[in-house]
């Protein structure tokens, strides 16, 4: 390991485990104790400036991990260091160096305007007035807070409140920002505002970001690195590209034809996945052939009205990981890009990107 600042781990967890004891009724009066493992040996290293998406189905252990990293919960076993500190033992020192946004629980004063909450937080975090003012000014610009800065928090919309929460978590200039479901329940405009803000925050490379989400569009927009957990274990840790490669997701070429074809063309390296719209729309999957090669060959064979290249759908891949993990089976690349939604991804929005590059169409 070199000593480059960017290489310094900000979050380091080894064999992190958390067990809960739950009491379940057994018979009329007796209750038996049962051990439930929420987090089952997680290894995680996050370096300064990284933006990491931490995802998994409900009950996979995402929030529990976050609570252990922020010092709220004590791990059952394993090693954790955040900013070089053990989170529970040095909770108050660590709190000065991290920012936390738990989607469901507020850091703001319900009955006070945001302006007052921010002023109180300055004292709680002992932030010098000038630094506080500078950070607040930046957040006001980027998050458009000015319209509702003087409205009591209880009267704010969810989107406005979330923008307030983000500001509250950043006013003391944290090195790491932990976000638990930052876009849950937000409308499209607010989601975009929050994502754009976080992207901007990540660009500077000073703040490390770890976010859990059910909305995979958050991840596609923000995170280069994706950690997928299921049943308390890490099932994937890597880039989104690596995820697609590993699970065999393919780009699709969707061709709209002028006239329906009775015998569709056969292209090497790109099997026909399905025919839609009475044969007017053909969907090919790019296996060994590149998208541009498929487009070029199609253009030579048939009269095209329109053509589109569809990026592999991350949500689909993740849904398959969850299913595979649940059935304890390996990944099955032959499944391809079946368009499925799973109940395990509530609140997920369709995240297709219809990208047609004009250069490919002749």
């Amino acid at each position: 390991m070199s000593a480059v600042p960017g290489d310094e781990p900000v979050i380091e967890a080894r064999g992190l485990r958390k067990e809960f004891v739950v009491r379940v009724p057994a018979g009329r009066f007796r209750r038996t104790r049962r051990r439930v493992t929420a987090v089952d040996g997680i290894d995680l290293t996050v370096r300064r400036g990284e933006m990491v998406g931490y995802i998994g189905p409900n009950g996979a252990g995402k929030s529990t991990t976050l609570k252990m990293l922020t010092g709220v919960l004590m791990p059952s076993s394993g090693e954790v260091r955040v900013c070089g500190l053990p989170p529970v033992a040095r909770r108050t020192q660590l709190a000065l160096r991290i920012g936390v946004v738990f989607g469901q629980r507020s850091q703001l004063w319900w009955d006070l305007p945001l302006r007052d909450s921010f002023a109180l937080l300055r004292h709680i975090y002992r932030v010098p007035a000038a630094a506080h003012a500078a950070r607040l000014r930046r957040c006001r610009e980027l998050l458009d807070l000015d319209d509702f800065l003087d409205v009591p928090v209880r009267q704010l919309s969810l989107g406005q409140r979330m923008r307030g929460e983000l500001t509250a978590a950043l006013l003391h200039g944290p090195e790491v920002l932990f976000l638990d479901e930052p876009t849950i329940g937000l409308d499209v405009v607010s989601k975009q505002a929050v994502r754009a803000f976080l992207a901007e925050l990540g660009r500077s490379g000073e703040t490390t970001l770890l976010l859990t989400t059910h909305d995979l569009a958050d991840i596609e927009r923000l995170c280069h690195r994706l950690v997928v957990i299921d049943h308390g274990r890490v099932v994937h840790d890597g880039s989104i590209g690596a995820l697609h490669a590993r699970y065999g997701s393919r780009r699709l070429v969707v061709a709209e034809l002028d006239e329906p074809l009775t015998t569709p063309p056969v292209l090497a390296g790109a099997p026909l996945l399905r025919t839609e719209a009475d044969g007017r729309r053909l969907v090919f999957a790019c296996e060994s052939a590149t998208a541009s090669a498929v487009v070029a060959r199609l253009a030579g064979l048939v009269a095209l009205r329109d053509i589109a290249v569809v990026e592999p759908d991350i949500e689909d891949v993740v849904a398959r990981i969850y299913r595979n993990a649940a059935s304890e089976g390996g990944a099955d690349p032959a499944q391809g890009c079946s368009i499925t939604r799973t109940a395990k991804v509530p609140g997920a929005s369709a995240s297709y990107r219809w990208g047609t590059s004009p250069g490919n169409v002749t």
Binding site: K67, G71, V88, R91, T92, A95, F102, W109, I124
Partner: protein, 270 residues
């Protein structure tokens, strides 16, 4: 130490935030402020009504019994104002407030107390102190410097004692979710116990509450020392000064219960 003092403005900010929040509902706050006196007025009125039926209570005439009532009311109402809302710990856990305060650079207990300080109970504490002042002025106390000291020290120790009981019983709910009723037996039961002269109770009940748990040293023994009366139960005069010796262990027990309780919460997360 410098770091410890450095957090004082932070706690002050929490207190200001709470004050501003409550005053933001101006009318409701004033109504609550007035309405809240009720409970304490009722406690005191109960004793006054009793004296319409009897000339002495446990061997004490009204003027002397009222000193005990005043000490008890002032101490309990002030403790209730300062830490009484910790009874809502279960709500703090459910709403996530406990998690929210654990990610801030301050102690969890002072934050919870300051963020939910029931300022509308201030009227009760004021009424309790007023009863105490009126009682000691009309009881015909032979004032000496030591007694002037005691009339301040005793209620302060009483506040600390009751506050410790509030925190200890609240901390129990980290283990037993439904410990609320058991806790009330000690907090509100203890308050009722201290309102009357210890001599009205008897047997194991008196032994446990007055001496084992220490409630006898909150109002009864300090009142005896102020009035210059010998204890019918035979304890020497210095028992009236034993309040700090009872308050200190109570604080230690409360601090321990809270620490262990929070650790238990953090290891169970429930």
């Amino acid at each position: 130490m410098a770091d410890r003092l450095g957090v004082l403005p932070a706690y002050w900010a929490l207190l200001r935030g709470q004050a501003r929040s409550q005053v933001s509902y101006r009318t409701s706050f004033l109504v609550d402020l007035v309405g809240n006196v009720g409970a304490t007025v009722f406690d005191v009125a109960t004793v006054l009504v009793l004296f319409r039926l009897t000339r002495t209570l446990g061997g004490f005439p009204r003027a002397e019994a009222m000193v005990m009532v005043g000490l008890s009311a002032a101490a309990f109402a002030t403790a209730d104002l300062a830490v009484g809302n910790i009874e809502r710990l279960r709500q703090y856990v459910r709403t996530g407030l406990l998690d929210a305060v654990l990610v801030r650079p301050l102690g969890a207990l002072p934050q919870l107390l300051l963020m939910d300080l029931p300022l509308r109970k201030a009227s009760r504490a004021l009424f309790g102190v007023a009863v105490l002042v009126a009682a000691v002025l009309t009881a015909g106390i032979d004032w000496t410097p030591a007694r002037v000291g005691l009339v301040v020290l005793a209620p302060v120790c009483g506040v600390v004692f009751f506050a410790s009981i509030f925190v200890t019983t609240a901390a129990l709910s980290f283990w037993w979710i439904d410990s609320g009723e058991v806790g009330s037996a000690f907090t509100y039961g203890g308050r009722d116990f201290t309102t009357y002269p210890v001599t009205v109770y008897s047997g194991w009940f008196r032994a446990v509450f007055a001496y084992v748990l220490g409630f006898g040293f909150v109002a009864y023994y300090p009142a005896l020392a102020l009035l210059g009366r010998a204890d019918p139960l035979g304890l020497p005069v210095w028992a009236g000064w034993a309040a700090p010796a009872v308050a200190l262990p109570a604080v230690l027990v409360a601090a321990l219960a809270w620490r262990v309780g929070v650790r238990h919460y953090r290891s169970t997360g429930s």
